[in-house]
């Protein structure tokens, strides 16, 4: 039986691979559900803070927060790249990075400088490898995004905007559309456009405590942070569902490979048996004659 032992070993090893991908698929499925819940949990805060910010910019026309002022000349652009920490999630990071790199190339040809902030180690390692100017990074986000871990990197970019080092701030992440579909998107964070905040419902003046400027400053920072946080939360949901799909197709692949190998194995076995029988028959015929 030539090669049948080798085929058996091969089947075993593919089966083991399949066990792993199957397990990863199930883990990703359960994590995806949680990540989706977290993504939704972040929505009320973002909604509320957007409302308040819209109100404030509406009722305080004489105080313009720096985040709201559009700059005439854009010399430098800031880009926040949100990626995953781990691989094996299909084309998630690749697609997102492709979008960023294409956009960065456009900026480069327009003569704009680019400063990058990377969230997630996949984006960071790619950006450093290709030599982008990485200003700050946060990796090891885990499965649950915490605003606390993001604040540092966000502040670096916000400070850069306030000090005029960058004139625009963009964020690139993977939008979660549904379990099967995730899309990389690029959104402008700063300067904030009025349309994004929408118009407030109702019109009333606030009592500010301590004073309007302080309150608005604090609020604007939090507003931007909440936008970035939602992007990270959404990216995590995308990561898990993308991983789930990738692992599912890997498991399916393993299944077909096992099927093919079994067929080859059975053929080899049958051939060996046939050969043995014909040998016996041949031998018996030789003796009786």
């Amino acid at each position: 039986m030539a090669g049948s032992k080798e085929i058996r070993t091969k089947i075993k090893s593919v089966e083991n691979t399949r066990k792993i991908t199957k397990a990863m698929e199930m883990v990703a499925a359960s994590k995806m559900r949680k990540a989706q819940d977290r993504m939704r949990a972040a929505r009320p805060y973002a909604e509320k803070i957007r409302n308040v910010a819209a109100h404030l910019s509406y009722t305080q026309p004489d105080y313009k927060h720096p985040f709201l002022i559009k700059r005439d000349v854009v010399k430098n652009v800031g880009l926040i790249v949100v990626s995953s920490d781990k691989g094996l999630c299909g084309g998630l990071n690749t697609n997102m990075l492709r979008l960023s790199v294409n956009q960065m190339k456009t900026w480069e040809t327009e003569g704009k400088g680019i400063k990058v902030s990377a969230f997630g180690s996949k984006g960071l390692s790619f950006m450093t490898r290709v030599g982008a100017d990485v200003q700050s990074n946060t990796t090891g986000l885990g499965d649950v995004p915490h605003l606390e871990t993001l604040i540092g990197s966000i502040k670096v970019m916000l400070d850069a905007f306030e000090s005029g080092e960058v004139d625009q701030l963009f964020i690139c992440y993977t939008k979660f559309i549904n379990t099967m579909k995730q899309e990389p998107v690029m959104e402008q964070l700063l300067p904030l456009s009025g349309e994004k905040m929408g118009s407030p419902e109702g019109n009333w003046g606030y009592i500010y405590e301590p004073e309007a400027e302080t309150v608005i400053d604090e609020l604007m920072t939090r507003y931007i942070e909440s936008l970035i946080y939602s992007a990270v939360a959404e990216n995590m949901a995308s990561e898990q569902s993308s991983r789930m799909v990738a692992m599912k197709s890997a498991s399916d692949n393993a299944k077909t490979v096992i099927g093919d190998l079994k067929l080859v194995y059975n053929k080899a076995r049958q051939a060996a048996i046939t050969k043995e029988i014909s040998e016996i028959v041949g031998g018996a015929a030789a003796i009786s004659n």
Binding site: A42, Y45, R129, S136, H146, D159
Partner: protein, 140 residues
């Protein structure tokens, strides 16, 4: 029906509390403020501390600890935007420095300039691989 106001306490990570209340007290940056229904519209920053919410039909107050944030009073609605992390200028600064240091560490062995050709080639290769795998799957 008792005289109540709707109170929403939300943080970036979750919705903490939502419901009708008779009274709410919060540790504002200029001292504790109490809000009854029909309070004038107000917006203030709050310090880390406890929110006290008096629910209708209960004698006790609900306590919610928050690490700072903002309090907004609209007609008929009180919103508390709670922070999820202890904030402070120095603390934020320290975190920003840490993020910068991490980037500098990672940038130590970077190429001198952004190499777009290399970046695009690398990504195109990865995409091609994924497409090849998908095609292979379809033919099977």
């Amino acid at each position: 029906m008792a005289n109540t106001v709707r109170v929403d306490v939300v943080s970036a990570e979750e919705e903490i509390f939502s419901g009708q209340a008779e009274f709410i007290a919060a540790p504002a940056s200029a001292g504790e403020v109490g809000v009854y229904p029909h309070h004038a519209p107000m917006i203030t920053t709050i310090k880390p501390g406890a929110l006290r919410i008096k629910l209708p039909d209960t004698a006790e107050e609900t306590l919610i600890f928050i690490s700072g944030g903002m309090l907004e009073v609209q007609p008929g609605l009180v919103t508390v935007l709670a922070d999820t992390a202890i904030r402070g200028h120095d603390l934020d600064e320290a975190k920003a420095l840490a993020a910068k240091a991490a980037a500098e560490e990672a940038m130590k062995n970077k190429a001198s300039d952004m190499d777009y050709a290399k970046a695009q080639a690398e990504l195109a290769e990865a995409v091609a691989q994924i497409q090849a795998i998908q095609k292979l799957r379809k033919t099977n």
